[in-house]
Amino acid sequence: MQNPGHLPPALPPSHYLDNRIFTDPSIFREEQERLFSKVWQFVCHESELPNSGDFRTTQVAGKPLIVVRDESGSIRSFFNVCRHRAAEVVRSESGNVRSFTCFYHHWNYGLDGSLRVVSKPEGYERACLDKAALGLVPVRTESVLGLVFTCLDPDAPALQEYLGDILQPLQGPLGSVPMQVIHFHKAVVKANWKLWQDNNSERYHSMLHTINRSTQPWVLGKSSPMKLRLFPNGHSGYWSDGEAAVAYERGGYTNVTGGTLPGMRDNEMRVVNFFPDLMVNIRSNVVRIDRMSPIDEQHTMIEWRGLGVADDDAETRELRLRHHNMFWGPAGRNLPEDLIAVESQYRSMRADAVRYSILAREEDLNPTDDANLRAYYQEWGRLMGRSASAPFARDAQEVTS
């Protein structure tokens, strides 16, 4: 007899997920090709590269990347792979260089990626090695509101076209005054990357957080000035057009939110989820950016950045950091609980005892509606050529897109 835990729920296919989209290694490999190699991926904030020669290394779709500010002030990216014998050209996470010299046989590249010097060049004369064709392999790089993105697909639309109007709520806080990364930490989470994305998208789980239950008046109510917002390409958000303040004082917290960012109301909260894996959360005076580097289907490296105003005075900076750490630091009120939740889900999902998850809340875009998750998995299904509710269906017509 079939395991009753493997029977799909009696709901429209858009309203549930087959948990194997989180656990199946072949689906993960497909995501690397069909999602992460195709869409714009946030890599860092411009303030991490203030001067020419400043670089950061990272990974996109499992590929190693150098992001660097060149002599002209533009930000460029290359694969962090030497064209000679594939050693890593840069072996640290950040730094400043005048040029890149590979440590192995000392090939030297300019900040524009061009191969400038090969050591003992006479040895290549007979083979007519063409240096001009052997620069570091460039990767498309564009910035908006200080956020630096790369895209491995030469045919993808321009960044701003891909993001569209989802940038609008970030315009004030990120685009009015120079911002700076003031906090950074990371962790390897034992869960599929999409569970972290889901956790940040769905507001129903405010139940999980003792501090949200006490300070977010809209969590338990039936309707709310805070609304989910759906945008093309799977992007979504959550904010209010009118008054909707986090009630810190109800949680007994005072003096945490000074230095409200431009365009934000005091004690206002905004959440923006860029498809497929970038999240920007704002609490009035501090911005949190979650960037994921999926390692495999069961492990996800998450980087958390906190942003403040670049020329803050010491006191305001301290306030922002205190607020950021209070919720979103490694020992913050919310973050440990979120990690515990997704790791718990993932342990169960790997066992495949119960196969389906439910996204069936319909509440006219009030915060605990699942509409944004449904829209997200619709877009995921479109790009993957699979339905998130029946990913292994043979019949392509079952794809719900």
């Binding site: 996470e93 950040s94 950074f184 962790a187 003792t210 490694p330 020992a331 440990p336 515990i340």
Partner: protein, 155 residues
């Protein structure tokens, strides 16, 4: 080193060891009493990404007391944590002292598996209060920057 100085240094050593022992037992309300009224608790880590040391938790006593009192209300990592300290290196000048103590924290799951959770140093500043000592700064400087599981518990 005078006899009084030796006794002071020994007391400070014991104080630092006892602080960790209170965490091992999760006696959090006793742990906060290790701080002076103007004391600060801080967890820092150097970010190679940003090229500077960052505070991951920094609170003065009143807010620290509130945060610690709320720990039982949180959904928590069910693992236990055991602190293993090296001998504190202590210097005492009058009514003030400093300590540097290498430490490691082991995490043991309810199922019994143990893993190394974090390593680092306590960089402490203490003041004499009455006949004992209290932290003016209890700073946890982490070497470990990728934690296996986040916790609301102090380190």
């Amino acid at each position: 080193m005078s006899y009084e100085n030796l006794v002071d240094a020994f007391e400070v050593q014991q104080f630092i060891q006892r602080t960790a022992s209170l965490l091992n037992a999760e006696k959090l309300s006793e742990w906060v009493q290790q701080f002076d009224a103007a004391g600060t608790y801080e967890v820092t880590a150097y970010s190679t990404e940003l090229g500077k040391e960052l505070a991951w938790w920094k609170q003065e006593l009143p807010l620290l007391q509130k945060t610690i009192s709320e720990v039982p209300r949180h959904v928590r990592d069910p693992a236990r944590r055991l602190h293993v300290l090296g001998p504190p290196l202590v210097s005492v000048t009058g009514d003030e002292a400093r300590g540097e103590t290498a430490f490691s924290v082991f995490r043991t799951l309810p199922t019994g598996e143990t893993s190394l959770f974090a390593v680092g140093r306590y960089l402490d500043e203490l003041v004499r209060v009455g006949s004992g000592w209290r932290f003016s700064v209890h700073r946890v400087q982490l070497e470990t920057r990728v934690l296996d599981a986040f916790t609301h518990l102090p380190l």
